[in-house]
């Protein structure tokens, strides 16, 4: 029910956007999110974009995980 999926914004027209969900195009609403740009990744839930994915924070998360790798002695 609360699943939201990251989708790439391909085109914008007022309060709607065309996004690619793993290659499948869908028209969704961006009425609940300001400042969406083409090329952004947004989280889509029941046909509405709810958040932009922050690329820097995503990189930080993956880097933090990589730092946990133990180097074998």
């Amino acid at each position: 029910m609360c699943l939201a999926v990251p989708a790439e914004v391909l085109a914008l027209a007022g309060e709607t956007a065309t996004v690619s969900l793993g290659g499948i195009r869908k028209t969704i609403s961006v009425a609940l999110l300001d400042g969406v740009a083409v090329g952004d990744f947004v989280l889509v839930h029941v046909g509405y974009a709810l958040a932009r994915i922050d690329e820097t924070e995503a990189r930080n998360t993956l880097a933090a995980i990589a730092d946990l790798r133990e180097v074998s002695p």
Binding site: M1, C2, G22, A51, A66
Partner: protein, 373 residues
């Protein structure tokens, strides 16, 4: 798929599992509740319990809005669907949920009611516009993730003067439910050392609402994304807090969640909704300040007011253990009906029907394993 595959990566999962194994201390258990059904499913689907040391036990929580909706409210929706001339629009998750005597929206549809599954509230609005001589009722369920979409639909309906559109509001609130879980009396309580907070509720409300809960109940809360690597990283963060005696709110899902959340979505909710005094949750009973209704300015769109379909408390199916499972007190395999009378094809309770229900997860991924449910 970008921003998904990286968090399903086996190598990263193993790095995190190794870190968790290094950091768990001997002589204690770590009982961690994943509040959200989406997390329950990720844990089952990716076999995360197998990657965790035996002293880390994941406990299912009640974060499944389909599962916690009392049968009496579903019964109202079914009766609305049967009213002459009504088109009842619903998210697909709800249509197969059974009442105690086996009724459902799908059964109502099979016997002539006009029930339509929609992906989005935008679809329900389009149906209302295309059918001006019919009453279109949208069955609005979900936590704070989904409430903004309903709010947006009501605002749009008001702007377009869609007088044949109404909503049956059953939105419930997460912080109140977390509070209820953490304050359950000792006899009922499941000892929980930490909580994995919901992903997309938090995208909307931010992490700020959990701060008071973590402090008041002295339990760490880590908001996590839905993918398996997210869950494992959150488990590591909780274990560290438990070891250090901290009880803070931390955010693992930093790529999507901020402290303040989505202000625009919150504003839409504040405009359209008011708080009910309280609401009955299956499994948790009546919780104060835990649900939404329409604000007075939008009362004209309230299906409960427009249609005379009063609430009738309904019993749950006999022997259905959904209530205890939602509280984390029992596991799906503890239910006598599990995988016998109750299967995904013939569900007896919401926990089996709902894509986020613990029973559905255990049936799909866990029931033949020797690991305890």
């Amino acid at each position: 798929m970008r921003h998904i595959d990286e968090y399903r990566d086996r190598d990263r999962a193993e790095i995190l599992a190794a870190a968790i194994a290094r950091e768990v201390r001997s002589g204690r258990m770590y009982r961690l509740m994943e509040f959200c059904g989406g997390h329950t499913h990720a844990i089952y689907r990716y076999g995360l319990q197998d990657l965790l040391p035996a002293k880390v036990k994941m406990v299912h929580g009640p974060g499944c809005p389909v599962c916690v909706l009392p049968t009496g409210r579903l019964d109202m929706a079914i009766r609305m669907a049967r009213l002459p001339g009504v088109i009842l629009c619903s998210y697909a998750d709800m249509v197969r949920v059974p009442t105690a005597d086996g009724d459902s929206l799908l059964k109502a549809k099979a016997t002539g009611a006009d029930v339509r599954m929609v992906y989005s509230t935008a679809d329900a609005l389009a149906i209302a516009e295309a059918n001006p001589d019919r009453q279109v009722i949208f069955f609005a369920i979900g936590f704070e993730t989904t409430a903004p979409a309903t709010a947006q639909a009501v605002v749009t309906a008001a702007a377009r003067g869609l007088r044949n559109f109404s909503v049956f509001v059953n939105h419930v609130l997460t912080p109140a439910a977390i509070g209820a879980i953490l304050t359950a009396p000792e006899s009922d309580a499941v000892r929980i050392d930490g909580l994995i907070g919901p992903s997309h509720v938090s995208v909307v409300i931010g992490t700020a609402p959990y701060t008071a809960l973590a402090a008041a109940h002295r339990r760490p809360i880590v908001v996590a994304g839905f993918e398996p690597v997210d869950v494992l990283q959150a488990v590591l963060m909780l274990i560290r807090q438990c070891n250090e005696g901290r009880f803070m709110v931390e955010n693992q899902y930093v790529r999507a969640v901020t402290a303040e959340g989505n202000r625009k979505a919150q504003a839409a909710m504040a405009e359209v909704f008011a708080r009910r005094d309280g609401f009955v949750w299956r499994g948790l009973g009546w919780i104060a300040d835990s649900a939404l209704c329409l604000a007075p300015a939008y009362a004209g769109f309230d299906a409960e007011a427009r249609f005379a379909v009063p609430y009738r408390p309904q019993p749950e199916a006999k022997a259905c253990e959904c209530p205890a499972i939602l509280r984390g007190q029992k596991r799906p395999a503890d239910c006598k009906l599990f995988a016998r009378a109750c299967t995904p094809q013939t569900p007896r309770g919401a926990c089996m029907v709902s894509p986020e229900g613990a029973c559905a997860a255990h049936y799909a991924y866990g029931r033949f394993r020797t690991v305890a449910a």
